[in-house]
Symmetry: C2
């Protein structure tokens, strides 16, 4: 294996490499692959882990005496809220159990802020001249699309290994009242895998903000989604915020979408009791209560909070080898080449791959033409604009391991080819 950095190659060697990768790419295309690493979806094997749900619940009445089949109970079933309150380190009265999508709850909160304002707002956000959000990048594309759809402008800060660059955030929000909030994926972030440290969480919850109603949308989508036995603990954001005198700043979201069924789990919202009352008041104008049958189904399925943790170990056993395979292929094929860096996440659903600046779009295009679907380049940035055209999000959970291998071999070829193309252009230009 030749592992000389491309930058150190002679013009002849570079030309040879380009030729070699072009040949490899033609070979790849001839295989007629049809592989997909685009979305963070659980595999059928993972979904199978929860198929006992299909026979539950075994009763129609909860332990607290509620007929789960009928209307009512806007805040969600007590027993399920108690179970997940423990897992998310919040109090049950701070937790709402809703429908099957936490993204829906995020949109509901943003819409309510725009139309009505929050508990600490001077007016509805929709009546402000301008509303802006801080977005750590790379981040989750649906967060950005959601803001864009509501006309909320986006400012970026770097997502570091310990979370968002808190000093950069603090500097932005200190004097600018148009900055009304920020996104944080605190645990095994999408897509970098970073875990927000206590220190960063403390800084974000305590920093002075010019906007009195600054909100942290704390999307704890991967709170329990460990890939190693060294399990990261999410910072206790509600307590930190409360201690810092900003109890209404964070709104936490979570779900069982990647614990039980991606499309038929239960979503959660956690916040100060005032925020919860605010959320439920608006929710109640369009709902007589969530699907409590599905709530009870989940209570029976897990039994206890520990039951959830035990269940997550089974997921880890299925998907950790896929992440290992991504790392193995990238290391073998690209190690030492100076054409890419990537992370080895300890949890979550993604590998963050940074290729030679200016080539990410080309890599995705090459992969597509070879039958490997990747998330479009730029997706992890607001307005889909990666300023360096360097970032690619890999989602290896859905395909079987053998397909992950094939897809990653293809990705490696495309990364190398794009890098060689780019380096050769540089040579020609010079």
């Amino acid at each position: 294996m030749n592992a000389t950095p491309l930058a150190d190659l002679s013009a002849d060697d570079l030309a040879a490499l380009l030729h070699e990768q072009q040949a490899a790419y033609e070979e790849l295309k001839a295989k007629g692959l049809s592989l997909d690493l685009t979305r963070g979806k659980p595999s059928a094997q993972q979904l199978d882990l929860s198929d006992r749900l299909l026979q539950l619940p075994s009763t129609t009445r909860s332990a607290s005496g509620v007929d789960v089949r009928n209307y009512g109970g806007l805040e969600g079933l007590k027993e399920l809220r108690e179970m997940f309150a423990e897992l998310l380190w919040v109090e049950p009265e701070q937790l709402v159990a809703g429908g099957s999508s936490s993204l829906t709850m995020m949109r509901e909160c943003l819409v309510d802020l725009v139309l009505f304002g929050g508990v600490d707002s001077e007016r509805p956000w929709g009546q402000e001249e301008k509303v802006r959000f801080v977005c750590p990048v790379p981040g989750y594309d649906r967060h950005f699309t959601l803001l864009e759809s509501l006309g909320i402008e986006m400012l970026t800060v770097p997502m570091d290994d310990d979370g968002p660059d808190a000093e950069a955030v603090a500097a932005l929000v200190a004097d600018d009242p148009t900055i009304k909030g920020m996104w944080v994926v605190p645990t095994y972030a999408n897509p970098t895998g970073a875990v927000v440290t206590q220190e960063v969480a403390a800084r974000l919850t305590s920093m002075p903000t010019a906007a009195p109603d600054f909100k942290i949308f704390w999307d704890n989508a991967y709170a329990l989604h460990h890939l190693t036995e060294d399990e990261a603990k999410s910072a206790d954001v509600l307590t930190l915020a409360s201690a810092a005198g900003h109890p209404h700043r964070p709104i936490m979201f979570a779900s069982t979408s990647k614990i039980t069924y991606a499309g038929a789990g239960v979503a959660f919202l956690a916040a100060s009791t005032d925020n919860v009352a605010w959320y439920l008041r608006h929710l109640g104008n369009g709902s007589i209560g969530p699907d409590k049958v599905n709530h009870l189904r989940h209570v029976e399925f897990f039994g206890t909070p520990q039951g959830v943790r035990d269940h997550m170990v089974k997921h880890r056993e299925i998907i950790a080898p896929k992440f290992a395979e991504v790392d193995r292929v990238l290391t073998e094929r690209l190690g030492g080449r100076g054409v890419a860096t990537w992370n080895t996440p300890a949890g979550g659903y993604f590998v963050n791959l940074d290729v030679v600046p200016g080539t990410a779009s080309r890599v995705v295009e090459l992969a597509r033409e070879a039958g490997v679907a990747l998330t479009p380049a730029g997706s992890s940035f607001p307005y889909k604009q990666d300023p360096d055209d360097t970032n690619i999000r890999l989602a290896p959970t859905m395909p079987p391991v053998a397909e992950v291998t094939g897809a990653m071999e293809a990705v490696a070829t495309c990364v190398l080819l794009a890098a060689a193309e780019k380096a050769s252009q540089g040579t020609q230009d010079a």
Copy 2:
């Protein structure tokens, strides 16, 4: 049984009646009742009809090959949409199957109209000086609360036996562009039980409106909820509107909340394909798809559209006797007294009781003090204001028949007592 109208009684006879009803009421209070006719909720016996759902679905893949456990399929499961398209007389591509609440879909549509405008809007409704809706009264309290929460003003028109007073509606909307929409519960309306005729539906879908984006929120909540063998057919509002050149005017809503489980059914939205695309585009910013497991659960449970109709017969067998009991007690106790009129609905969930003008609040108060909870007087009117204080909504489905009897006996006593009080005041005043 004395059935002389109160207005025809001599002063002495009226005093005797008042005394008699006061004694009856004291007796009633002494019973220590605790009965509830407030909400249109199915009874446990009705919910039991669907308990086979708890063992379904038997597979995780739909006939069309979709793994229902995973993300995706924003428009809902094909097989379920096909089944209910037939029942609602729409095309499958005009129908979206969503979560468990049609009220949620109504709020989503209104929010999207306010924030973004509809397919035929000149601007978002939120940017209009004023937005108003026509509300047939009496009507559904949650419809009115929803409008009020969004700052949409309400104008009332009478709800007649053949539907909303279409001429009154047409006169209002012809020249006033601030009137952007109206509510209609077309089949067995809440609370009057009226069924919108083809003629009224044709008038409402074809009338000229000053607002180019006038919307009919066609809440077909009781489309299949017959109380007799003479089953009303809902007007085909989408076809009528399309034929009249206003294809985007109606948005239909329906659900299985009162077919399977009130809190865990499936809700539907039907509209022109442009409207459906509009709805899904906004929905997609906050959703990766509905609970398709519950969709497949319903497909398997019913089997065919006829399976749904057959299932509704079982509901009828349970609740028709309760409606008959309401009518029996009211007839026996109040017939000929000139103190109340009420309907005998052929479907739906409510009986509409009109008492002596000026006494509805008093009746509800008397009933409450005697342990019988009724929907607050005025609830069926915008801003909870019944101008005549005459209307009371009775919801007899939830309690067992014996409790319906007890509650209605109590209601009858309260109606008579309030009427006698009022008549006596009149005598004293004169």
